[in-house]
Amino acid sequence: MKIAWTGGLVGFVPEHCDLRRGMRRTVAKFAARTRADFVYGDSLHTTDDRYEEPMQVLRPGWSPERLRGHNYVGDVVFATEEVVAAAGGAEFLSALSAHDRSLRLSERAQRHERMARFLYVADWRHASPGADVVAVREHCLRLGITGACEVDGASAVRVRRTLTTRPRVAVIVPTRGTHAQVWGRDRILAAGAIASLRATSTYPHLEFIAVLDHDTPADARREIEAAGGAALTCIDYDRPFNFAEKVNIAALHTDADYLLLLNDDTEIVSPDIVETLLSYFEDRDVGLVGPTLLYEDGTIQSAGHFFNPVPYDYYRGHSADIPGASNMLRVAREVSSVIAACALTPRLLFEKVGGLCTKFPGNYNDIDYALKLRMVGKRTIWTPLAACHHFESKTREPVMKPADVAELGARWRDMLERDPYGHPALQRYQFVWKSNRPGQRSVDEAVGPTAPIASK
């Protein structure tokens, strides 16, 4: 382990890593400018073929939930001398695993910053983030997080938190009683969503609120009511379609502690989905949590949103078995937003930020909501520990309404163009996390946004 001292910062550089030339000074300047006390950056990884360009590992902005899963910050990190001293001193830290070191330093640091520059070079074998389950267990103990830490392969640790309370959850299902073919059988979608949650969920304190359009067929209404049984409240809605307003109205009709926004074209996969989503709210600064959404055929519909620079669902259409770049689909992590097709949020917080914005009747109200939460200091989490089917048609042409896009940009242009959980050097207009190299620019990128999400 080499320890690099620069401008009040201590850098931990393992033997297998080489700090790039001039990076000490660059990091010191960056830390001084951003007032960061914990700095990490990107890395290059050489392969055995000397003619091959090195692999680029680009890292997202500060994501504490993801750091619990694996050492996504890389093997080389810098921290101020005060933080290093508080975490046990440079000598003690240098003897730890990279994951343990990052966790301990990050706990003591106040301002964590990612420097979007290549900080170090290492062998390709160190390109994937490592994980240390013992370090994560100790980290959870230090932070008072109760739960079980499981090793997922050799590359990630899954932290299943334990719920310490059993709050009431209101499941809000806006619908117009649509019926569709799901797995070869015709069904009323809302009835199926409610019935599956009631039948499968292991969480006892659920209540359901269905907001029914005035043109909901009577037979569909009957089926929905039968699916919800005594736990269901139906609200008639007779205005022109406005998903956001329907959800807001439902939220006003409950005093439950949490709201589970659930589209009618969903069906839960994980029986413990509610417990899993709720468990993240043990952290007081979490505002919204969403599970993995899967298409009918089991491929990924969304693993959280990212703005690249238009909103996309991570790994849409890819197999649910893939780990994603740097195993990003294996661990819970912060995202800019999640689809409101299945997302949990505290009711009081929902009211505090004004609910869903009715200026977005169909699309982007979930993005707007998540960004409002960020504005009041709350994080949005995507988790792979829970999954839900979302039977959104893959062949549906996404409808981008210019007025919606203009309103979204008027409010959040700065956040759309500077996604903290993205990276400026990513290949744009892609669903996947992929570095942008001139030789690899795709036609998609050249022609611009062909199919940005329409999130409902």
């Binding site: 049984g229 807001n248 109205i249 930020v353 914005c357 409002k372 940009g409 207009y429």
Partner: protein, 167 residues
């Protein structure tokens, strides 16, 4: 655990569109206390006083839709919360006001960002990657062909270095 499912049989009103009325034919209701709850142990019956809180002005004919133990839906929560239709509209307006305040803050931040980056005020549209498009067009111009031919026939080591420098 508090349960609020009392199945009071009260119609839950359409909360939007004050001018419109909700037809009774759209839903039949359950009258009486809901004593069946297959998800909860020990259901509790609550007596709700303010039964008329959310009923539309139009008189509704409440009908049972079968046996009393098979509740179709319950408006008890609404009644319990004592929300009137006008109150719901008022609370919706409150939500909209909060949203507008946050939107103003967000718009101020976005305006500052635009000013910092010299971006015009015209309505936002999702951007296209013009620079990449232009590069592709430029690379495929006929007068670049000899250069490309020359580059392709360089030894791989030199090509690799040129690529690295270009990257």
């Amino acid at each position: 655990m508090p349960t609020r499912r009392t199945g009071c049989g009260q119609r839950v009103a359409a909360v939007a569109c004050l001018g419109k009325r909700v037809g009774t034919e759209t839903k039949s209701n359950f009258i009486g206390n809901d004593v069946v709850d297959d998800r909860l142990v020990g259901p509790r019956i609550e007596v709700v006083d303010e039964l008329g809180s959310l009923v539309t002005e139009e008189a509704s004919v409440l009908e049972t839709s079968g046996a009393l133990h098979a509740a179709k839906s319950s408006g008890s929560r609404l009644a319990h919360m004592g929300l009137r239709r006008s109150e719901i509209d008022a609370r919706l307006a409150e939500l909209a006001a909060v949203d507008a305040r946050l939107a103003d803050r967000a718009k101020a931040n976005a305006a500052r960002y635009r000013a910092e980056h010299g971006i015009s005020d015209e309505p936002y549209a999702f951007p296209t990657y013009r620079s990449a498009e232009e590069k592709k067009v430029w690379v495929h111009k006929w007068w670049v062909w000899p250069l490309r031919f020359f580059y392709r026939h360089l030894p791989i080591g030199i090509r690799s270095r040129i690529k690295r420098i270009a990257t």
